[in-house]
């Protein structure tokens, strides 16, 4: 029960945080309108998708990844000021603490997603209700590794480094996964498929033909979730080694 109380205040705090509005919401929205609106009905070569549909999902993956990984900055900050220790002498369990962090990140990610869906719809993206839901479902699952990555970074990196590291990492992943331009062949195409962010961006194919991920996509996302969760657990134990 007390986990819900904590989640409620965690959400309130995030809503009041300017960096969140800028990075997770503002940035993807601005880029979507800048890139997609001049030619929103044109088909992006090699993808079969309109510019609007392509960049709607691409920038949604960027914004939601940012929302999830931002957990790291919040955890690192709370560790640094000693708040985590204060919580450890309260009945709030560490599971409930992480749950609150991840739930908050997902709420923020969904908000970012909805704003981009609305923007996409305004620029002519039109899908049956079932496909909107399927796409959302894939993105929600595709974000699992990034939830773990947030916790991992929060316990591994100090406050000064976590901001640039997060920003850099998400930008590189976005680049390699075809957020900014379509990667349809070559080395980047084969390499990208090993990345969890690749499959996040691939959720766009639902808009094309209703096809979600291949088996390879599910396996990649599952593997990264397991690896990064184990990493997060390790980093947490290492960090609180005094117990």
């Amino acid at each position: 029960m007390n986990g819900l109380v904590y989640t409620r205040y965690e959400l309130l705090r995030t809503f009041r945080n300017r960096r969140f509005w800028l990075l997770s919401l503002g940035f993807p929205l601005i880029f979507f309108w800048l890139i997609a609106s001049p030619q929103h009905n044109k088909i992006l070569q090699g993808t079969g998708l309109t510019y609007a549909a392509y960049y709607m999902v691409s920038l949604a993956s960027f914004g939601t990844m940012m929302s999830m990984v931002s957990t790291g900055a919040r955890i690192a900050g709370e560790r640094q000021v000693g708040w985590t220790r204060q919580l450890r002498i309260s009945p709030l369990s560490i599971r409930a603490y992480f749950r609150a962090k991840v739930l908050t990140a997902y709420t923020m990610a969904l908000l970012s997603l909805i704003l981009l869906y609305i923007s996409g719809a305004l620029l002519g993206v039109s899908l049956p209700a079932g496909r909107w839901l399927e796409m959302t479902g894939l993105i929600v699952v595709g974000l699992l590794p990034f939830a773990a990555l947030g916790v991992l970074l929060g316990h591994l990196v100090n406050t000064d480094a976590v901001g640039p590291l997060m920003g850099g990492l998400v930008s590189i992943l976005a680049f390699l996964s075809g957020t900014w331009f379509a990667i349809t062949s070559g080395f980047l195409h084969s390499f990208g498929q090993f990345l969890p962010s690749w499959w996040l961006v691939q959720a766009r194919n639902v808009a094309l033909d209703g096809q979600g991920w291949s088996a390879r996509g599910w396996i990649t996302v599952a593997a990264w979730t397991v690896i990064l969760s184990a990493g997060a657990a390790w980093a947490y134990r290492r960090d609180t080694g005094r117990v």
């Binding site: 007390n2 000693g82 204060q86």
Partner: protein, 307 residues
Amino acid sequence: MDQIRLDGLVKSFPSPNGPIRAVRGIDVSIAAGETVALLGPNGAGKSTTIDMMLGLSKPDGGSVSVFGRPPREAVDAGAVGAMLQTGQLIRDLSVRELVAMMAGLYPHPMDVDEALDLTGLRDISGQRTQKLSGGQTQRVRFAVAIVCNPDLLVLDEPTVAMDVEGRREFWSIMREFASRGKTVLFATHYLEEADANADRAILMAHGRIVADGPTTEIKARVGRRTLRATLPGIDSAELAELPGVASADRHGDAVILSCTDSDQTIRALLAHHPQAKDIEIVGAGLEAAFLELTGEPDIDDSEVLAP
């Protein structure tokens, strides 16, 4: 059952120069309703002891029982509130929201307004936590520690970085809370704070308890001053008879008087032996007093002390 017990607590930390033995076997029993000061210089093992009492750190040996329960259970039941040595507040919440959030984590918390009133935060309850002064932040941290309405309140050097007025206010709030029949344990390295705010003081040095008793008694033991003077030809036994002198020593022409009341001693000394010169009176300081109490350094004392 109705007490806090530490039995044979031992804790070491690894370091490049071999293990640091921060706590070397301490036994304490605190009755419900007592206000106890844990007194000692930096590195005495106070914070390590407190961490183990709160379940933040596991003892290498010995056991902790808080009202008959392991620390973690006592914390979950809301029986323990604590203000740790370092710590700031999380941002983007108002003072009231932060205190209410913490209250929401506990099974039977204090009314939020009551906690705010008690800590004098009512007037600034709408302010964001990142906009508070240092003293205000400490009071909010205090409110966070007591809002669970704990039976045991633990404060680890709570007044470090507070100004004189802040300290005065802080201790008056603490006494008000203690007067509700609460058990309070606070760590400090100021003898005056222990003397003014606790019934009992436990002295720690080098990871051990070196004295434990009523604060008045402890103060008498560690509050001594040393008077040094050049005074040839006077028998030290005679000097030991002077008022306020606990013991007298001679090294050549120099005499060293350990005084319980150095004001009386200096008056009497100059009245009886006006030829005394190079007079010097120094407060023993806790560190020196502890050394005196611990006697000779331990043979195994050569290792590094805890930071």
